[in-house]
Amino acid sequence: MDTSIITDRFDTWTDDALAWINDNGEWLFEFIRMLLEGTYDGILWLLQLPPFYIIAIIAALLGWRLINLASGILAAIALIFCAVMGLWAETMSTLALVATATILALVVGIPVGIVAGFVPSFNRVLEPVLDLIQTLPPYIYLLPAIALLGYGPATALIATFIVAMPPAIRLTSLGIRMTPREFIELGQASGLTSWQMFTKIRLPFAIPSIMAGINQSLMMAFGMVVIAGIVGSGGLGETIYGAVRTLDIATSINAAIAIVILTMVLDRLTQSAARRAKAGGR
């Protein structure tokens, strides 16, 4: 039996659906695109406003406050190295992409995670969806995004946002569900309202887990933002993609080093922030 008819039909159907959405939802996608690119442009403008050494000093100060002086200095040196390689503009636009996508992922992911933490049935439905998002190859998200939003940073942002969201949801939901029993009992015995129980007991205990979720989202975003170079995201991802196409190995290695530096600096900073949330809590 020739099953290709079935697959062909499915493919046509998918294409038609996408075309229909594209035709009829244009205003919506235009709005989404403007929202995403507006946020991105705003953050990028902010990051490009000061010269590179100011950003490096800020990183040094954060590293010093959150970890220790040596880490702060190291972070500054690493960032200055990016500028020395002549990749400062690209590094900053990658940072802006990652920041925009992560902020969006958190704005959506944390509230969804809170609801999932409270409503077990919602969590049961959500889990397989998150599994699906995380198991599909991340390239998949680029195609419908490019069809609906076109070539450019908006597509990269939406795909990165999708990939970065699941850890924020999962770890927030986990944090809410993991409130120690004795503290729930304390809340009940003290006559707390549901809202007080949430703000005074559940949320404080969930903070370390939520912070871990933020760190994980950020890391996922970094992974995706390089892949999104294919769709004209701008930044280091596009530099690497261009270098690969022209077999410019030297440039691709430079850009890769810049990515690694940026990732490690942000990872360490957010990890220590998460640890401090935990230490303040225990």
Binding site: E185, L192, K200, P204
Partner: protein
């Protein structure tokens, strides 16, 4: 350990025939209990339900410390949670300050928990992200008391438990005993009439534990609070409680003062428990002394007025100390300036051994 200051007999907590049955078929089991009066064993067999508390009745008066003593699985923790409805009773009525707890709506129940009934937990449950002061003020914060005022009240409560210098610290900087003091201060700061103590001192080492037991009793009495105190340790119950209920398998097997439980155990289970208990601090002078006239008749060589003196509430331990200091083997018991009886060495030995037949004591 009767207290003389128990001037009011107002009943604050009243439990009548309370049951708690756990399990998927609990409603059917409850119906069967109400209709046919099934036993625990039958309920487990017929309905596969566990009886947590079975037909418990008790009352707690204003100013009284009521201990519930039982081993793990005896239902004592369930019973105490029925009192503030952390657990819903299956059957029976629980009245707190004249109000049927089961009939309160959510807001009334919250209000009662916030104002009338405080609770202290074995796990302490101090919020780790708050200072000692903020923890102690928690109950007031929940009630919406302004920051300055609640911190003032909390500071006063922490002073009472001897932690005035630790207000700015975090719970993890405190020892177990100190943490439990903060737990007590948190309950006291909200100024409830009743404090529920759920095995608060069980996890502490013996020395700290005794110290806290004494402090708790003293504090509760001086503030005029009532307390229900859960413990698995009979000695602790005796040390702290005005009255003690002994629980076994969800049933209250005996309620009485420490002296009553030790001298008149209701059944073999209780007498097994009591066997290891020292009577030295339980039996008092008034129950072992003999009338002055009888003492004069048997010991004509002694002058009663020359004996060392003590009060009728002195326990055997104190009497032994006095006898050791004295060069005579008897101590005079004095009430309102007159000698009302004499405790001889023989009487002391009887008191320690718990020989049932006392020498006839003066009324």
């Amino acid at each position: 350990m009767k207290t003389a200051m128990n001037d009011s007999n107002e009943v604050l907590i009243d439990c009548q025939n309370v049951w708690k049955i756990f399990g998927a078929r609990a409603p059917a089991a409850i119906q069967a209990v109400a209709d046919r009066g099934l036993s625990k064993k039958q309920i487990l067999q017929d309905f596969n339900c566990v009886v947590g508390v079975s037909d418990a009745s008790l009352h707690v008066r204003r100013g009284e410390i009521f201990c519930i003593m039982g081993l793990s699985g005896s239902g004592k923790s369930t019973l105490i949670r029925l009192l503030n409805r952390l657990i819903e009773p299956s059957l029976g009525t629980i009245t707190v300050k004249g109000k049927d707890v089961a009939r309160l709506n959510a807001a009334q129940l919250r209000d009662m928990r916030a104002r009338n009934i405080g609770m202290v937990f074995q796990s302490v449950a101090l919020l780790p992200n708050r200072t000692v002061l903020e923890n102690a003020a928690f109950g007031l914060e929940v009630r919406g008391v302004a920051k300055d005022e609640r911190h003032k009240t909390a500071r006063a409560a922490l002073e009472k438990v001897g932690l005035a210098d630790w207000t700015a610290r975090y719970p993890n900087e405190l020892s177990g005993g100190m943490q439990q003091r903060v737990g007590l201060a948190r309950a006291l700061a909200a100024d409830p009439e009743i404090i529920l103590m759920d095995e608060p001192f069980s996890a502490l080492d013996p020395l700290i534990r005794r110290q806290l037991q004494d402090e708790f009793r003293q504090l509760t009495k001086s503030l005029g609070k009532s307390a229900v105190f859960i413990t698995h340790d009979l000695e602790e119950a005796i040390r702290i409680g005005d009255r003690i209920a002994i629980m076994k398998d969800g049933v209250i097997v005996q309620v009485g003062t420490a002296e009553e439980i030790v001298t008149k155990p209701a059944d073999d289970y209780v007498s097994d428990f009591v066997a290891g208990i020292s009577r030295i601090h339980l039996v008092k002078a008034h129950s072992v002394m003999q009338p002055v006239a009888k003492f004069r008749a048997s010991h004509p060589q002694h002058d009663v007025e020359a004996l060392l003196r003590t009060s009728p509430d002195a326990d055997i331990g104190e009497l032994i100390d006095l006898t050791m200091q004295s060069n005579r083997d008897a101590v005079a018991v004095v009430e309102n300036g007159t000698v009302i009886g004499v405790v001889t060495t023989r009487a002391l030995l009887r008191g320690v051994a718990g020989t049932p037949e006392h020498e006839p004591a003066a009324a």
